[in-house]
């Protein structure tokens, strides 16, 4: 173990240097400070150049045995990531360091994202064909761990391999074993689609309250549960696993005590379809997925839209196109959310901006779906989903009431004065149609994807009716603009430049704006939660600015919508590297737009 500790120090030091050459997203890997002899662990500290995270708290803890975990856990940030060597968590080791119950099962690690990996045995297997003794092979497990970390943080392996070769030049077997372990760890991260869990920095000083650490996926799942409680409807999730969305399914499936029903379907189409069926039955229905899954759900979403039933589709965006970069973040599904269906099929699009905001965004998406009987697309992304932040818990009583009532009685009369139910007789205010669920006597009706006659909902091929219904569906969604908060500028309302963002770029843009203001630049900021429809005042707000910069983790999607809608000459700032913006990138682009000499 002593040896192991040493090697870590060396390796880590190396990696520390090495990583400094990747300025956009540096990380440090350090041997634990104050490590007791024999404790095998290392810590990864990640920071954005612009933001100084205080203290010695780490983001990632790699614990090669229970002792390491025990001694180092207090140095790990709440919500941080633990990678532990499950091979070492046997009774003897647990006992040796005084764990009475396995900390993996008693809730000790609840606050963290835990990856259990059988590192010893995987290393032994990875080096099995080499000419090394099993005991020696086991020693290479640290390199396996380093490989995993390198995968997660997109670090190249070559420098480490070169270092290993130089360091152990005289012992080719050791070189071979270490390199094999390093590569195996790296491949393991890839093959099991491991994601870097990142901290989203909370810019505002901590307000008084009770806090917990939460990842975006957990917050999304909790938001769904909350929406169920707030609406009084049973939650149904139809889903098919896909990185980085699967954890929402996993989390929800653990909360059946809320009456939640989760269904792992045979594919994404079935997941969405089952949710739509559940919605017809009166459930608060969700389907969760990532980009490739949304590409498959378009037809079903179109049906929901035509039937005017509530359905929330959650897209945890990842790098595209196609399979793309499953474990990297990107915000490139916005246009698909807007237009990824045939025909005229407008639907609301809502985007979460921080891990904890996923909770509120899920409730808001549910509110709109229920109130307007419409599919709603909720966009999060890999960075939010797997990243964690400290969250000041809301009072349950402060959460909105999003209850809706089912129609239980006839809503009109026929020519002879008999009561009849018209499933497409709309609410004057919201233009929503009544939601009458099976089991309700007298309101039997059939819904379908063929065009429906106004009010009666009977199949209709009438040209004018089709135009009317198309306009009504559109007007219903557009009307939501008045049921959401107006766009609110952070700043003077008339600065030299406005930065407009959406989604997970909030943190980066906010910190960039703060720096620039400190520098004395005149910069306003606007972050959009509702992307379709836009807040009703957005046009008025935007046309006040002569310079608008729209930083996006795509090739410029929101900026297209803004330009088309408001004819404002907004400028895109694009990044598609699977990584969030650094503050510096945003600052440079803003200054370029302002023509400030940098």
């Amino acid at each position: 173990m002593q040896l192991t500790g040493d090697r870590f120090t060396s390796t880590s030091a190396l990696v520390g240097n090495d990583l400094a050459t990747l300025p956009e997203f540096p990380a440090e890997i350090r041997a634990p400070q104050g490590t007791l002899a024999g404790v095998s662990a290392f810590q990864v500290h990640i920071s954005d150049h612009d933001i100084h995270t205080p203290g010695d708290i780490s983001d990632v803890l790699v614990a090669m045995n229970p002792a390491a975990l025990k001694s180092q856990l207090n140095r790990l940030k709440g919500g941080g990531t633990i990678i532990l060597n499950s091979d070492a968590f046997d009774e003897r080791n647990l006992e040796k360091c005084g764990y009475e119950i396995d900390p993996r099962s008693d809730g000790t690690l609840d606050d963290f994202t835990v990856h259990e990996i059988a590192m010893t045995s995987l290393t032994v297997t990875a080096t099995a064909d080499l000419d090394v003794k099993k005991r020696d092979a086991e020693r290479s497990k640290n390199f396996f761990a380093l490989g995993v970390i390198s995968w997660m943080y997109t670090r190249p392996l070559e420098p480490t391999m070169e270092w290993v070769e130089a360091k152990f030049a005289s012992k080719p077997a050791v070189v071979a074993a270490n390199v094999a372990a390093l590569k195996a760890g790296h491949a393991y991260g890839e093959t099991t689609e491991m994601f870097a869990n990142q901290y989203v920095v909370n810019a505002a000083p901590a307000k008084p309250g009770t806090y917990t650490n939460i990842t975006g996926n957990t917050a999304t799942a909790w938001g769904m549960i909350a929406a169920g409680e707030l609406s009084g409807l049973p939650v149904f999730l139809g889903s098919y696993p896909i990185t980085p969305a699967s954890d929402i399914l996993h989390e929800l499936s653990r909360h059946k005590n809320f009456g939640v029903r989760t269904f792992q379907a045979e594919d994404e189409i079935a997941g969405a379809g089952a949710a739509l069926g559940a919605a017809f039955g009166g459930a608060l229905a969700y389907t969760t997925t990532s980009g490739p899954g949304v590409a498959l759900k378009g037809e079903t979403i179109g049906l929901a839209l035509s039937m005017e039933l509530p359905l929330v589709i959650i897209d945890v965006q990842r790098g595209g196109p196609s399979t793309g970069l499953p474990t990297k973040t990107e915000a490139s599904d916005l246009m698909m959310a807007m237009y990824g269906r045939h025909g005229e099929s407008p639907m609301p699009v809502v985007a979460a901006s921080t891990p904890s905001d996923c909770f509120f965004a899920a409730i808001e998406a549910s509110r709109l779906a229920l109130k307007y009987r419409t599919p709603v697309m909720l966009l999060t992304d890999g960075y939010l989903a797997t990243g964690a932040e400290p969250w000041r818990l809301p009072e349950v009583s402060d959460l909105p009431d999003i209850g809706v009532s089912f129609t239980t009685e006839a809503n009109s009369t026929d020519l002879e004065g008999n009561p009849v139910f018209l499933p497409f007789l709309r609410d004057q205010d919201t233009l929503s149609r009544p939601w009458a669920i099976p089991g309700t006597p007298g309101l039997e009706h059939r819904l379908g994807g063929l065009e429906k006659a106004d009010q009666t909902g009977d199949v209709s091929y009438d040209p004018n009716n089709h135009e009317l219904m198309t306009q009504l569906r559109e007007a219903k969604i557009n009307g939501i603009a008045n049921d959401i908060p107006p766009a609110e500028i952070d700043g003077t309302g008339g600065a030299d430049v406005l930065l407009v963002g959406w989604g997970s770029t909030l943190g980066s843009i906010t910190s960039a704006v703060q720096s620039m203001r400190e520098e004395g630049l005149s910069v306003d900021q606007l972050h959009l939660t509702h992307i379709h429809p836009f807040p009703s005042n957005l046009g008025d707000v935007l046309t006040k600015y002569t310079r608008i910069l729209v930083p996006e983790l795509n090739r410029g999607q929101l900026v297209k919508l803004l330009r088309a809608e408001y004819l404002v000459d907004a400028t895109p700032l694009s990044k598609v590297q699977g990584l969030p913006f650094t503050g510096q990138e945003i600052i440079s682009a803003t200054k370029a737009l302002l023509e400030v000499t940098q």
């Binding site: 009770t210 917990t212 409680e229 594919d267 189409i269 229905a285 818990l393 099976p438 039997e444 819904l447």
Partner: protein, 348 residues
């Protein structure tokens, strides 16, 4: 919601067909086999309503379909219904069943809807044993899209999309369903209302997923596809009626029968083998037997079995869902505040 041609009394009396008939004009081609199936379904419901124990109600009944001529079915039943998208009805119905295990859910579709685009959802619904009664209207053609061959069309079929004849062997829907571990599988045809009613009732009474294949004539694009079997003159020689607990016999004078020979179902002359050698049909027999019986139909020249091939009790999917929810709630329902504070918390 009213039907002018019938008196209100009829409409209000669930034991009358009219009670189950919606106000929509039926829009199938005149002479389409679908009419007979619809009538059987409406009469079956009326029939069931006579038994007060069933408590059958229009509001608790749902018909879900995909797209195709067959898939128009829900519009004509005065129950709840969804006419959805092509091929997805088993998946959509599964969601409804999980959310609402109290409902009686029927799923309707054609051979294209259920076996071509929707094949996967069908076999998964069967495997899961979700409490759905699934009706496959097999007319061996795509009717709605004006006559292309389907996954049940015979090899060599000349259609608009196969002017030189189709080249792929058809599915045998019963074999496929048994291969997918279905717990209830049956076959009936559109010309025999009594048989349909009987099979529909059994299928619907089965707890779990039931698949009923219905030989259905599309008189416009594939007229007479089943004549060799179901035409009155051919029935005796070509239709094998499966009766639970009885030896499998058929023929004008019951002179023919089925034996299982080396694992394979074979048609024999009863006199040649003796009654005791005949297969005694048991719907709860090993799936291998159901499979063997299903395979009889692969060849259009051979007699084809009708009735319930397979009916076995097996845990039903939504029951299991409910049990897990009940179990999770055995210590009380979830509390939102507790959930929010279930991780490590700190106070500032």
């Amino acid at each position: 919601m009213t039907n002018d041609s019938e008196s209100n009394v009829t409409l209000l009396d669930p034991t009358k067909r009219g009670h189950w008939t919606s106000d929509q004009d039926v829009r199938w081609c005149p002479g389409c086999g679908d009419y007979g199936i619809l009538a059987a379904m409406q009469f079956m419901h009326a029939e069931l309503a006579k038994d007060p124990a069933t408590e059958i109600k229009t509001e608790d009944t749902v018909f879900i379909s995909g797209i195709g001529c067959a898939a128009r079915f829900p519009y004509y039943m005065d129950t709840y219904g969804m006419h959805t998208i092509h091929g997805r009805s088993p998946a959509i119905a599964t969601g409804l069943a999980i959310a609402r295990p109290d409902l009686n859910i029927w799923v309707v579709g054609g051979d294209g809807d259920m076996l071509s685009i929707g094949g996967n959802h069908l076999i998964h619904a069967l495997r899961r044993n979700v409490n759905l009664t699934i009706l496959l209207f097999n007319n061996q053609i795509y009717g709605l899209t004006k006559g292309q061959y389907s996954p049940t069309s015979e090899v060599g079929k000349v259609t608009k999309s196969t002017p030189s004849g189709s080249i792929d062997p058809p599915f045998n829907p019963i074999s496929l369903a048994v291969g997918a571990r279905a717990t209830f599988v049956a076959r009936t045809h559109d010309l025999d209302r009594k048989h349909m009613i009987d099979v529909f009732q059994q299928a619907n009474a089965h707890r779990g997923a039931s698949l009923v294949e219905i030989y259905q004539n599309c008189n416009v694009f594939n007229d007479g596809a089943f004549d060799a079997i179901t035409k009155r003159a051919n029935r005796a020689a070509m239709m094998i009626d499966l009766v639970d607990g009885e030896p499998v016999r058929f023929g004008a004078d019951n002179e023919k029968g089925v034996v299982i020979n080396n694992g394979r179902a074979e048609v024999v002359e009863v006199d040649d083998v003796g009654v005791d050698s005949l297969l005694v049909h048991r719907a709860d027999a090993d799936p291998s037997v159901s499979f063997a019986l299903a395979e009889l139909a692969n060849d259009r020249q051979s007699p084809t079995a009708f009735g319930v091939f397979r009916a076995v009790e097996s845990p039903e999917y939504t029951d299991a869902v409910e049990a897990q929810v009940a179990d999770a709630q055995s210590d009380g329902a979830g509390n939102l505040s507790d959930l929010l504070t279930s991780g490590a918390t700190w106070t500032v």
